[in-house]
Amino acid sequence: MMNNKPIYLDYMATTPVDPRVVDVMMRYLSTDGEFGNPASVTHAYGWNASTAVEKARAQVAALVHAEPKEIIWTSGATESDNLAIIGAARFYHRKGRHIITCKTEHKAVLDACKYLEGQGFEVTYLTPQSNGLIDLTDLEKAIRPDTILVSLMHVNNEIGVIQDIKAMGEITRRHGIVFHVDAAQSAGKIPIDLQELQVDLMSFSAHKLYGPKGMGALYVRRKPRVRLEPLIHGGGHETGLRSGTLATHQIVGMGEAFAIANQQFESDKKHIQQCRDKLWQGLCDIPGITINGDVNTRYQGNLNLTIEGIEGDSLILAFQKLALSTASACTSASIEPSYVLRALGISQHLAHSTIRLSVGRFTTLEEIDLAVAIMQKEIKRLRAIAP
């Protein structure tokens, strides 16, 4: 199906809501649906809404092998990151005031850490290796007696590299430090087993996985128990961790999206890998194109490419028929080139000539063929006019 819209190659910025998810969400909105407040305990409207919310909680928990009770609803991964980092720091501050994170984290993590620096906490920002992966000995070395929290992401939103959160969790657990992982880009895309991982807090977002925007969750481990200070007060919802009337339609949307991702995990993975590989095969023979981030240890749906010899703004205009990102979507508004690429040691000049392509469930092989043809033609054309 083709129309005049650009080919969507920006699934790591956001995804369309799966039509099956929309169907479910619609049943929780209006007079003919279960519109009740899940906190109403006196009538069936409330009971039915509450049942739906708990079903969704179990669906989200099932995808990552957690207990439903360990899932707290939030407004998105940004809020989850804030609740995890600021909430843990405020609860454990008597134990220590040192936090470890990484320079290539999402701004939701970095800015929450920056906020805590203003509150008297100290933050160590690890520098990843040039392939984007963190050297575990660097993590181990950064740990101090007063370290209370380590926050490191699973899949990086720009370069797609996968951090070894299993090994990291073993280190943090050995030192008795709370470990938070931002899994907004990995949930439903690469396997996550919280029975096996020694992760204490994990952030999720619905809209990166064919669910609605403005919806997320935070996993809070019960065994061993992790404690947080809430950021939002008023009514004591979500065991006091996140007050506010639950957004039933959003929650069931997230639940359904996670259930679908669970159910068709293998076929999604295979399709996305096939699209990404075809895209790369179409581009890899063009000279002066390099992949940023480790080539093997990366999410199957991401390509982060530096295209030498073409200025960044010209790249974007030349690829107008393609919807893609220069830096991460959240930072595209500013002209400063990607801090993630800069942390890998890529020059400002080359960082500017870098694009992120990300494919997803609804990408078609025909779209990939078309995208490859456009990119090949435009790269050739613009390089030919250069001195």
Binding site: G309, I310, G312, D313, S314, L317, H349, I385, A386, P387
Partner: protein, 129 residues
């Protein structure tokens, strides 16, 4: 970034791409910009015996405004005298192409290249005498 239709037209079909034989006595070349600053322009102009710019060619690397302004410049240059060329200013490109203030350096690069070419032509004339 939203571009005007004229920018997009010149960007997609830049005029007069190429080089001229700069070893010819009536051909000058100006080379401005640095790749790591984001813009490079090579501008070739051929003059006829009366001192009119006969034709011009460009090779250009940079953002869409530099490409469009350089392309537009090759149309402007045609049949101009040295004095007329020396009077070409970046605001012509800013106006024609709706270049935002943060990108005015792109237009300045083209003005500089034209001025450098004029200068080169004048030193050619001097050496004739």
């Amino acid at each position: 970034m939203k571009y005007s239709s004229l920018v997009i037209e010149h960007f997609n079909q830049p005029r007069n791409i190429g080089v001229l034989d700069a070893s010819q006595s009536n051909v000058v070349v100006a080379r401005r910009g640095q790749p790591d600053e984001g813009n490079v322009l090579h501008l070739y102009i051929e003059f006829d015996e009366q001192g009119f710019a006969q034709s011009s060619r460009i090779k250009v690397y940079g953002d869409p405004y530099v490409i469009a302004a350089a392309s537009l410049a090759t149309e402007l240059i045609q049949n101009k005298t040295i004095d007329e060329l020396q009077a070409v200013s970046y605001d012509y490109f800013v106006e024609q192409l709706d270049i935002p203030k943060t990108k005015w350096h792109s237009a300045l690069l083209v003005e500089d290249a034209i001025k450098e070419a004029c200068h080169a032509f004048k030193s050619l004339e001097v050496s004739y005498e």
